[in-house]
Assembly symmetry: C2
Homo-oligomer: 342 residues x 2
Amino acid sequence: MPQRRKVVVCRDLGPDVMPTLLNHPELEVIVWPENSSCDRKWLLENAPGASGILVLLSEKVNAELLDAAGPNLRVVSTMSVGYEHADIPELAKRGVKFGYTPDVLTDAVADLSIMLALMAGRNTKETTEIWPNFVWSPFAFCGPQLSATSTSPTRTAGFIGFGRIAQATLARLVPFGFTHCLYTANPSTPPNPAADAQVAAKYGVKEVRRVDMAELARESDVVFVLAPGGSKTYHIVNEEFLKQMKKTAVLVNTSRGTLVDSDALAKALHEGWLYGAGIDVVEGEPNVDENHPLVKAPRCVVLPHIGSATTETRIGMATLAVNNLINGIFGRPMPAELSVSR
Amino acid sequence: MPQRRKVVVCRDLGPDVMPTLLNHPELEVIVWPENSSCDRKWLLENAPGASGILVLLSEKVNAELLDAAGPNLRVVSTMSVGYEHADIPELAKRGVKFGYTPDVLTDAVADLSIMLALMAGRNTKETTEIWPNFVWSPFAFCGPQLSATSTSPTRTAGFIGFGRIAQATLARLVPFGFTHCLYTANPSTPPNPAADAQVAAKYGVKEVRRVDMAELARESDVVFVLAPGGSKTYHIVNEEFLKQMKKTAVLVNTSRGTLVDSDALAKALHEGWLYGAGIDVVEGEPNVDENHPLVKAPRCVVLPHIGSATTETRIGMATLAVNNLINGIFGRPMPAELSVSR
């Protein structure tokens, strides 16, 4: 009988997925036993000799962890689409493969983006908790309407970052009467008006156009923050941006909390620079409490990072993370490997 | 100078709309002065001699009011699409025209129906109030996903009532991957499979089909209650219906509270007969407080009847109600008159 490969799994991934690992005849599986984030000390103690490690956003994948694991390590697999918790150059230096879970959560996050755009405009922060202290009046709770109307027949969606989730969100907006789409992109990539025209034709909108942040702020009825986290996008939504937004616009962030300056957004909502906000991610999460400026801000819905939290999608992510791990260990093509150039 | 016609307006409709009435040279306008529902005694005292009365859902339009107004009355105009507060035969008997506000609120209510379908599935009752007491885990808060997925590639919408709002809701569901549409209709109307096929082709779904309540309950991933109120639809969603729903389904009611048995729905949510509910209307509203069984029920979002509450739509409704009133008084065609056959 061949020696089994050791794998360390930083969270129990549930009865739909764990048997694939636990029943694998060639694996010795060590799982963090608590219903909480994996303890760092436990992880470093169990990493030595591992061929694979399965992590979540909460685990830093850095030189410390990779050194602890040692030369047997072939793959780190994260159950997330984001990888700002992983030091990619350190992985590359050691020739360790890295798996992640793109695509499978696209629809769940696009769904949540639409939900938050609606909740921000419909003022659900106030309307869900109003019982019994409210007096109906013709314009109580009224804010901007997401759908186009006969008297205001156009709508513009603005996307900070225009990848798969943004385009899935745009597709959902079309029957609401959205006619125009603006987006910002990484400045290092060249503009491509021909590709933009193809996207416009695909979704049936009048225009898809790459713009700068100032034009995006000025022209959008809804701004969706859907770019990666990290230093290049840190606080890209700041006071200057928020001051340029329409007073009737709403902001939705379903990507990473670091892109939005929380204090600036809270100030903007208190002062009415924009109408409302729907926020699934907050800088510093999960250390957010009822005194956080965004939780206290008017017309601001704050959710605890549930973008991908549907049964179907989380099973899909966990399955993909496990398959990345197993295939990486045995040198087979991984279903979703991030290319880590040295 | 001709004698001015008296009109009684049961609520101040705001600065965008009231000048049309107040500055009309041929009208004497009496407006309920408080920011609350119009007092019945005040209304009955001011009605005599009126040529027109503008009401809201809160004002009963019955023989008592019509008798108080007397023979000058030519039109009653309601700022609502529903008219269960009006005794249509009594209006017909007196030859009093009746105006209402259909169509103009279709998109706002369809928007809210989508929002509530998403909020029920995403468990926002719990997730909006979780700070700071939550522990992330791979399947925390996970419920059914509104969008279709690669592993469950079909979705069925069920509509109790299939008028304009239902079809506007269906249009919005298509990019979420909805493939099938079932509906129930007034039994007195004949089925029309050819028309159903046309609707399916129009929205790009595989099937639109009229069914009975039992099949609708069994097959739908989301049930939208969008039929008129009144005795014919009273508690049409009852224990029997709820017991037949999928455990992963959600119920959305954006029509009238009387269609849903609140106690049955609360029981169904506590016992898990369905996953969640999004409710904009509650039987007995606005007398709903934090002890109401639906406000206390798990995975149940309860809103204070804000279906049409967007700035654009409420201005549109108020404008239409005023135009119905003025045109009715002067014998001109009303933009939205309900035919009241004698």
